[in-house]
Subunit: 442 residues, 2 copies
């Protein structure tokens, strides 16, 4: 008997919530950003529920918003991901630990070394979310006035990846013999000096840390552009996507998976994991009410600004309590715009409600009962829209507890999510091979 394909679940975490108003929700923890005791509890609950990974969201700047919007945002202060995940490594046993790190504003030697260190500290549970960073506010924190151009960023990212993985291969897996008798700590022929000199980077090596437990930490990417998809197909172990519905999810899935074979990669060796904002209720009504309650905490100023962006028109002059009028076509993404308009029509939302919905969280959502959410997840899996999800909890700790206590058991009952970890590394959880060392035969 073949086992059904299995869902992979990451928890995409901002310790307060991804939802901009959630910190005000009754029972939420507005200070979770600086409450390591709470985050530790979250991670341990995710591990008890057999999640693949804890995935820490990140930015290299305070987000660029007008101060009157910014002052309402809990995103302005957060633990730095590598330090946070290292601390979590010490208080968990199996949970994967994925951090974002930029190829535009960091050095490959630092990045290779830190992820190798996290991988050793955690016994093989590290993941690197490779981002090229498009935020101009970040550029200004790193001595650049203008942001680096998109194509240039991708070229550097590709070279950066080659250097980082090359540094991870500095030592053969069995280099460190620690032979007390002979006084030989490592075998010299098992050390490789990279000596990389490329277009963007010049890095000698070797890395001053043994090859990671996983060979290479898991490499995650998030780009959806043509260049991003191709970079992912060439280099990623997992893609964190933002397709807003199953139809778009299936198109993305088919496109990226089709890029693998020509590159000599197995279809199963790149996992596609869209983000999903999951709100659980005991009935559909209750879940929808919970989502609406959350949105009520989004300040109108923040919401209307987000709505204007989504529609491609300034709609701040509209009556907040009236319905959304006809809005002319614009430069905004047509599918995103249509989705907003459809929401307003189908649910009879006022401009205020719509603004708060968009301002709260506007990506893929699953709002319903444990059974209906499991149905949706199973459908994405069976119809090849994804290999699992990066789950976003609407508020912490309640939203996490709802998912872990109610949705996970339903997925397990259906045989599409593990009841026990079978391996100990993140690669093993995700069903990914351990990369061979390019400089040394196994």
């Amino acid at each position: 008997m073949t086992r059904s394909r299995q869902l992979h679940l990451g928890a995409f975490m901002r310790p307060v919530s991804l939802h901009t108003g959630a910190w005000r929700f009754p029972g939420a923890a507005p200070d979770a950003n600086f409450n390591f005791a709470l985050i530790k509890r979250f991670a341990q609950r995710l591990e008890a529920a057999r999640f693949d990974a804890f995935f820490m969201a990140d930015h290299l700047a305070v987000l660029n918003m007008p101060i009157d919007t910014l002052k309402r945002s809990h995103t302005v202060t957060s633990f730095e991901p590598m330090t946070l995940l290292s601390a979590l490594a010490a208080v968990t046993e199996r949970l994967g630990l994925i951090a974002t790190s930029s190829t535009t504003f960091d050095e490959p030697y630092h990045v290779a070394r830190r992820f190798a260190s996290l991988d050793h500290l955690s016994g093989g549970r590290a993941g690197w979310n490779l981002v090229t960073t498009s935020n101009p506010e970040a550029a200004r924190n790193f001595g650049l006035d203008e942001h680096v151009e998109h194509g240039e960023r991708y070229h550097r990212a590709r070279e950066f990846y080659d250097v980082v993985t090359g540094l991870w291969d500095s030592w053969a897996d069995d280099a460190f013999v620690r032979d007390v008798e002979r006084g030989v700590y490592f075998e010299p022929e098992k050390l490789h000096v990279l000596d990389h000199k490329g277009e963007h980077l010049s890095v000698r090596g070797p890395l001053n840390i043994a090859r990671p437990v996983q060979g290479w930490p898991v490499v995650v990417q998030a780009g959806s552009s043509e260049a991003g998809r191709q970079l992912a197909a060439e280099t990623a172990d997992a893609v964190f996507t933002a397709q807003p519905n199953l139809a778009e999810g299936k198109r993305f899935y088919a496109d990226v998976k089709a890029r693998l074979e020509p590159l000599g990669r197995a279809r199963d060796h790149l996992k596609i994991l869209p983000g999903a904002f999951v709100v659980v209720g005991s009935s559909l009504d209750e879940a929808q009410h919970k989502r609406a309650e959350l949105d009520r905490y989004v300040h109108y100023d923040s919401g209307i600004a987000s709505l204007s962006i989504a529609l491609g028109h300034d709609v701040s002059h509209l009556d907040p309590d009236g319905p959304l009028p006809e809005i002319p076509e614009s430069n905004a993404s047509r599918s995103a715009r249509q989705r907003v308009v459809d929401w307003a029509r189908e649910e009879g939302l006022t401009v205020r409600q719509l603004a708060q919905r968009i301002g709260g969280y506007s990506g893929l959502e699953m709002v319903g009962t444990p059974v209906s959410i499991a149905d949706q997840m199973e459908q994405w899996l069976v119809e090849e829209g994804s290999d699992g999800f990066n789950v976003m909890f609407p508020f912490l700790p309640g939203g996490l507890d709802d998912f872990v206590d109610q949705v996970v058991p339903e997925l397990q009952r259906r045989g599409i999510f593990r009841r026990e970890y079978e391996g100990s590394t993140l690669r093993e959880h995700l069903g990914l091979p351990r990369p061979a060392n390019r400089f040394f035969a196994a």
Copy 2:
């Protein structure tokens, strides 16, 4: 009654040992570099003994040695300090956590953010050992063929320090009100945008993390040059020095402390902590025998290379088992050279024994009984050679256990080392004030 001046004790750690041959010593843990369980035990023992801090040694490269020497060195592979100390933060409660970070090969936004994060994760126990990095091997790992010139490095370091501390002051201590009712997460007037544009650095800010628990993490420096001393007097909370004996220690202490008053700084607010390699025995003979045994594990090739450097002459042709002949004057530091020659004469060492002594560890050492070591430490304290020590254990875990079990109780009995922590932050352990925020009155 005034209490005696108190010793401050840091543990300057390479998880195997600072001594190059110690990994071969019976009972040593040659794999401690990659054994987090062991390092965690070390940290917890240090905390139980009320040490001020765990100080992680670091380099940004595999050290530049001939491969036949390098292959005998346990320094080639080590955890990265920020990830290691973050993991230790999760399994300790009071112990300070000091990591080295370079101003030459890193970005101030990253450095400010990571140390702030470690400070929040640990409840105010982070320390930044600010180094300018003079290792040319490191330069080549960061895209530079030539090493940055000394004066240039110090100018950048000074500006880097200003930017990092400026970023730490991005938010007033009471900026985050998290007012659920009003929907205000922080008070906008309590946010400062640094907008630094200097000779070497351009950094906008603000930092995307709240002001550290300690205001600023403790800043440690190690430079002994004129520029290094001045930078320390202007900016450091503690200096990690390498004076090889009490006479030189007193000169350094007097020099650096005298620089404080003209800068408007209190004499007590800069702690001077030399490194001390401590070997404990139940008799002087036993301790010296232990040191000699350790040195026996230093490979002759490594030792003779170190001895040649110390003497300023290639002495590799000498009979290893003969005495040290007269060696002409050279460019080597006279005091270091004289010390080596004195050792050979006073202890009747052969060339081999001398080479292994120098190759093993050649800085300040305290080799003796718990009482004689406590005598030495007390003398340094009373005669103003130091405010304490960065203790280096000859081998782990035995050397650490000896110090904790035998020397610490003797220091406590004399009333010059704490029996309990009185505060919870590293600043409190060191008796240092919490810096005011330069942009906001308290």
